[in-house]
Amino acid sequence: MEDIEHIPKELKLIDAKGIRLDGRRFDELRPIRIEAGVLKKADGSAYLEWGNNKVLAAVYGPREAHPRHLQDPAKALVQCRYNMAPFSVTERKRPGPDRRSVEISKVISEAFASVVFVEQFPRTSVDIFIEVLQADAGTRCAGLTAASVALADAGIPMRDLVASCASGKIGGVVALDLNKDEDNFGEADCPMAIVPRSGEIVLLQMDGHLTADEFDKAMDLSINATKQIYELQRDALRRRYASVAEAAEQEAMREPARSEEPPREMPPDLPPEVDDL
C-alpha cells in the first residue's frame, strides 16, 4: 500500500460505492468503436477509438520481406511497428522509435505470429503498422485489437482474430481497462491478448504489485472483456463487408436477368478498344 502515498490527496481512484473517476464500475470497459477498411493504399486497415485512445492500424502484405537476409524460406514473417505520434501524449514525444515502442512492437509481432498461417507465404513479410494518434493508457491493447481487424481486412489467413485488453489494480481494487490517471496512480497494470476461440494467451505483460489471487481476478476480468471486444471486431468486419456482400448479391441478382436477354452482337466495324493508360 506504500504506493497510495504518491497519489494526490484529493484523488480517489475508486470511491466507496465502487465508482471510478470516469464513472465506470470495476468491471466496465471504456466505450470502444472500431471501423474496418479506413485507408485506401494499405491492403487492410482499421481505425479504433477506445475511451480517449485513437489508433490506426494498417497491414501490407504478404509481400517480399526485406532486408532479404530476414526472409524465412519456410514461412512469412509477421513484423509490427508500433509508433506514437509526437502529439499523441501531453508532453511531446520525440518522433521515431524509443525503447518502449521497440518492445511493444516486438511483443505484438510475436502475438500475431501464432495466429497467421505463416506457412502459406514463405519468404514474405506481413507488415503491421500501428499509429497511436491520441493516447490515454492501454494503447498496446487498442493497437493490437485494431491490427487484428486490419489483418482480417487485408484478407490475411488467420486461425482467429486476436482480442486484447488490460486489467490492473486501483485503490486496492482489481479493475478492468485502466485509463491514464488510473494507470499513473494505480498499483498494477496487466495487459494481455488472447485468441478468443481457443483461449490461448499470446501476449502477457504485467508491472506493479499483484498477489497471485489478484492476478487471477485480473485475468478473469480481461478474458470476459475480450469476449465483448471480439464481438466488436467481428461487427466492424461485418459492417465493412456487408456493403460489399450486398453489392455482390445485387450483381448476382442482375446476372440471370441479363442472361435471358438475347446476346448483344458487337458491331463488326468498330475498332478494338484501347485501354487508355
Partner: protein, 258 residues
C-alpha cells in the same frame, strides 16, 4: 540476425526427453541451473556482480552519478537500465545499436526492479527538483547459453545490493544503496506442452513460448513478460507463477549473500 540452426535430431531429442519428464542436462522441470554470484567484481563501478547461471555468464555494473530528476518525480532518484549483447557472447549477436532483443531484456530487468520498489528512490534525492542520484544498470552478456532474462536480473539485483552511493563526490559520506525489496525473476519455457524452468540455449531455441515472472520476498507478482511466438493457456500461466514463487525463494537466498 542469422537464423539459428538446431538440428532436427536435437529438436526431437529434447522434445522426446521432455515428454518423459526429462531434460538434456538431467535437471527436473522446476530445477534452475546452479547460480554463482560474485559481487563487487569491478572496482570502478559503484556496484557490480558477475553471475553464472549454468554456462550463461553475465556481468552487471551499476554506476551512480549526480543528475537531474524527472519533472514529475522531483524528489526521487532515477533508474536507467541498458543491455549489450556483445558479439563475444554468441555467434548470433552482432555489433551495433541495441537489437529489439537487447531492449526487451533491459526493459524486463528494469521492470522487475522498478515495480518492486527495490531501491528506495526517495533516499536518492540531493536537492529536490535539481539534483538526485542516477543509477545506471549496465548488463553485459559475456557468454550466452540461454535465459539471459534471469541471469541479468540476478546480476542487476546483486550489483545493486552491494552498490554504494558515492556521496563523497558532493562532500558527504558514501552510503550503501537503500535496498528494500528482493525481486527474483524466474523464466519458464514451454516445450511440447511442458513447462521447464530456466531454459538452456538448446531448450530456448526450440521453445514455443516463454514466460518471465518476477516475484518479491512475499511471493507477490511484480512483473511479467511473455515472449516468443507461441501461447499459454491460463493454467500454464498460473503454474509458471507458482514455480516462480517456489524457485525464486531458493535463488533469492543466493543473491542475498554477500
Amino acid at each position: 540476425m542469422t537464423a539459428e540452426v538446431i538440428s532436427e535430431l536435437m529438436r526431437e531429442h529434447i522434445a522426446r526427453l521432455a515428454a518423459s519428464g526429462k531434460r538434456t542436462d538431467g535437471r527436473r522441470f522446476d530445477e534452475p541451473r546452479p547460480l554463482v554470484v560474485q559481487k563487487n567484481y569491478i572496482k570502478n563501478a559503484e556496484g557490480s556482480a558477475r553471475v553464472q547461471l549454468g554456462n550463461t555468464d553475465v556481468l552487471v555494473g551499476v554506476k551512480i552519478d549526480v543528475g537531474e530528476p524527472y519533472p514529475d518525480t522531483p524528489n526521487q532518484g532515477v533508474l536507467s537500465t541498458s543491455a549489450e549483447l556483445i558479439p563475444m557472447a554468441s555467434p548470433n549477436f552482432e555489433a551495433g545499436p541495441p537489437s529489439p532483443t537487447a531492449i526487451e531484456l533491459a526493459r524486463v530487468v528494469d521492470r522487475g526492479i522498478r515495480e518492486s520498489k527495490t531501491v528506495n528512490v526517495e533516499k536518492l534525492c540531493i536537492t529536490p527538483k535539481e539534483k538526485v542520484w542516477i543509477m545506471f544498470i549496465d548488463i553485459h552478456a559475456l557468454d550466452y547459453d540461454g535465459n539471459l532474462f534471469d541471469a541479468a536480473s540476478y546480476g542487476a539485483l546483486s550489483a545493486l545490493s552491494c552498490a554504494r552511493v558515492p556521496a563523497s563526490k558532493i562532500g558527504k559520506e558514501d552510503y550503501p544503496l537503500p535496498l528494500e525489496h528482493w525481486p527474483i525473476s524466474v523464466t519458464s519455457a514451454k516445450i511440447g506442452g511442458n513447462m521447464v524452468v530456466d531454459p538452456n540455449l538448446d531448450e530456448e531455441r526450440i521453445a514455443e513460448a516463454r514466460l518471465t515472472v518476477t516475484t518479491d520476498e512475499n511471493g507477490d507478482i511484480r512483473a511479467m513478460q511473455k515472449g516468443l511466438k507461441g501461447s499459454f493457456n491460463l493454467d500454464e500461466v498460473r503454474g509458471a507463477i507458482r514455480t516462480s514463487q517456489k524457485v525464486g525463494r531458493g535463488l533469492r537466498g543466493i543473491v542475498q549473500r554477500d
